[in-house]
Subunit: 252 residues, 2 copies
């Protein structure tokens, strides 16, 4: 793949605590941002329960569909951590106790603290490669194009930063944002015209509502940067022609 | 369905801005919490791009799999709001301009402000039922078991509260949380024993790491409340037998 290729990713969040509403996911926006900087586009994310068949089905489906899959959650030391076994099964293999993983964990824990439960964290699918965990040492793993990471945000995010250099980079999608203090319907025609005129640019509009300041952020996105700049100039000219005041910055 | 039935839901978040990492989703935890109170379990959530074929495929798959599907995003007045058409196609029908929706929007906007772009928000699939939007008036719609809602959290959440009474309620899953100031691997055996002994209770453990206070929240979940209380007593007794201090409350 060259630097101008489209490289895609999918993210599987394994966790009953997200589906129950107990915890709000913070990993998707982090992963999407970091991968985006490397020119890798997250094209789908799924939140699924800790159910083996669901993990197997989801991993297989997304692994076949995108260049890279990332999972978070379910690789700890407890009974409900079934991810490693499920992912092994998704690729027709089984887990084994990896001596390298055992060595990493033995170095991390104090004498006598490396108990049977913690030893479970050394079990990874046959044929996988360990992924560094600079926070709590228990490694993740990569099998085929699937990267299996911890769920705790601090750990997951450190693991992503460690593995990023190993990924093939694609064309970086940049964005340009214009904010106006009017509703999106008022400028719908102009946005549609710009989207139609610049094939490589994606035009999105995001209304926001705050006391005393509602409006719309127009976000142009694309990896063809000269065309992106042309599209920005075009929408700016259209708004100025209608004497619509443009606020720079990005109101989320 | 009776009040003790399991009722399931899936949530489809339609939005390039979530997949790009620009915006962090806040609707899943809200929806999961509200539905949970009504005994409806969210069993899967997906974040997908504004791509017609992806919307059609995802809606069809999840609609067949769960009792209720909810979508958020992509039903505004602009060129990139393709959700209504895609969902109509998912059910083999097409959109039309619903006179009731037009009447609602005409009442909402001041004289002369109901422009062509806003009129687009009155287009819904044939055979669908309008869903109230108490914030910005533009209605959502229900077709088959799919509820199509706005993406802006304030609007989405108000729409959920309006439609909740129309849903069939299931058995409410309650949770009980115990927090201990030790790592999850230390109590993995006890949690596994309790999960095995109480078939209707799901035992999850969620480690947290904060400066000076890391530990584990043990979360028991189930709709069989007497069994849930028994499981809580059992894990409490096991921890006390090992002289592990129990903190009440829920450290997220």
């Amino acid at each position: 793949m060259t630097e101008t290729t489209r490289v895609t990713a999918a993210f599987i969040i394994i966790g009953n605590e997200i589906l129950s509403g107990r915890t709000q996911d913070a990993n998707l926006s982090f992963l999407a941002g970091r991968l985006g900087e490397a020119g890798i586009q997250v094209v789908e994310a799924r939140v699924i329960p800790d159910v083996e068949e669901t993990i197997i089905h989801t991993v297989r489906e997304l692994s076949a569909k995108v260049d890279y899959v990332f999972t978070s959650g379910g690789i700890g030391p407890t009974h409900d951590d079934i991810t490693a076994d499920a992912i092994a099964r998704a690729f027709g293999t089984e887990t084994f106790e990896d001596p390298d993983a055992v060595a990493i964990l033995e170095r991390h824990y104090a004498e006598g603290e490396f108990n049977a439960a913690r030893r479970k964290m050394a079990r990874v699918p046959r044929g996988s490669t360990l992924l560094d965990n600079p926070v709590s040492s228990a490694p993740g793993f990569r099998i085929e194009n699937v990267h299996v990471l911890a769920g705790v945000p601090k750990i997951m995010q450190a693991m992503v930063d460690m593995l990023l250099p190993s990924l093939t980079r694609g064309a970086v999608v940049e964005s340009r944002t214009i904010t106006v203090l009017i509703g999106e319907s008022v400028i719908a025609t102009e946005m549609g015209e710009v989207e139609a005129a610049f094939a490589d640019v994606d035009v999105g509009s995001y209304p926001y509502f705050k006391p005393g300041a509602s409006g719309t952020s127009i976000v142009l996105r694309g990896s063809n940067i000269p065309m992106l700049e042309q599209a920005l100039a075009a929408i700016t000219a259209k708004l100025e022609a209608r004497e619509i005041e443009i606020w720079s910055g990005d109101h989320k």
